[in-house]
Symmetry: C2
DNA sequence: TTTAATTTTGACCGCTTGGTTAAATCGAAT
DNA sequence: ATTCGATTTAACCAAGCGGTCAAAATTAAA
């Protein structure tokens, strides 16, 4: 094979990722993916039998990467407050680098709920185990003021949503691209403190 | 016109709303909307010239309703803490009743950013005015610990995101429909307190 | 060099899509 | 009853869609 080229299969996956992330399943065109990969459309079907198959591959990747970070950080053995700082930072940064992934996943769930359920349950860190772990950890630190599930959802909401709604927020807050970045940087610093204050009894 | 029937145009809009909200622009089919409205497909084009036009009508409705609540609540003259309580409650309730709207709007933004910008600027309560108002109000109450824009985003994030990600959360937290409702009810009570604690200097 | 297997292509297919059109139907005014 | 405009329909169209296929090009094995 040639010098700097990736394998054809990898090129296809990269192209499919670009197109599917931006346009979703219904909005994506096989021809556009082929063009993006610089190959013939028939070759897509040679490697992945159908559009559905190709989408599944892209979705699994995105979904796995999205939750691997969260779940592995949560199940780490560092103290709770440090954990919260890590999650906010790590998560926000990841989504800054992959701006289309959150909405892509949200739509993907509606497109095929059963597959998502299967992906979650077959994860190396299934949600049920994570939940139990957080609950135990919070009890160990004497935090009874808030339900552990509510805490998790708060962390995710505050970290994820502003980037999910980025185009909207930029418009509402009238921010340029740089100003929006600054705005997010401030959040990275302040969010953990806000969350920690919300769980420590005063 | 016949007894209990709505006007044809209203019937079309209702049908389009149902289909577009659930499937988005790309996933929706004009034939499906026609069937849902119980009319011929050509009639859609008689009232609205194109799919794009019909979508715009539906999107404007959803978008306007979504932000009218927020903006009118914010610009009300009640005290800040009461305002926050109202927003959390009202907003969460609205989205419980219109589960598809948030993701629909999020996708709509990607589909036609310029139109969204226009809708925002032509609103009776443009964002810039709202922002200024919140800033003044916070300064009047001596709240200098947090940027007013960060506060607004926090409120929206905590209220909206759990319902945007409902199918995912139900799965992760392993909740039935009723249990999820209960979970959200708890949030309605606890969110305002959490937010208020985050802005009052200890 | 010949052979066999794999990879890539262009041309093609059947179907669905948004959209059009001419004719039919209806409602009210004359 | 006739006319006339607005409404509704069935039939149709060109374009675009996902997908197929046989042949060409490439690579590896003999």
């Amino acid at each position: 094979m040639s010098e700097n080229q990736l394998s054809t299969e990898k090129r296809i996956l990269e192209a499919a990722k670009t197109v599917f992330h931006k346009k979703g399943f219904d909005g994506a065109r096989m021809q556009e993916i082929a063009d993006e990969a610089g190959i013939n459309k028939a070759l897509l079907h040679y490697y992945f039998r159908s559009k559905e198959n190709l989408f599944d591959a892209v979705f699994s990747d995105a979904f796995t990467e999205f939750f691997r970070r969260l779940f592995s950080l949560i199940s780490d053995t560092i103290p709770l407050d440090e954990k919260i700082r890590y999650i906010c930072n790590d998560y926000i940064t990841f989504m800054q680098q992959n701006p289309f992934i959150p909405v892509f996943i949200l739509n993907g769930i509606q497109h095929n709920p059963e597959k998502v359920a299967a992906l979650l349950q077959n994860s190396p860190n299934p949600p049920s185990a994570i939940l139990k772990q957080v609950k135990i950890m919070m009890e160990a630190e004497g935090l009874h003021g808030i339900d552990h599930r509510q805490l998790i959802i708060n962390i995710i909401s505050l970290s994820v949503f502003p980037l999910v709604a980025k185009p909207l927020l930029k418009n509402i807050l009238n921010l340029s691209e740089e100003e929006f970045s600054d705005f997010i940087e401030v959040r990275k610093r302040e969010l953990p403190e806000l969350i920690l204050r919300s769980i420590h009894k005063e």
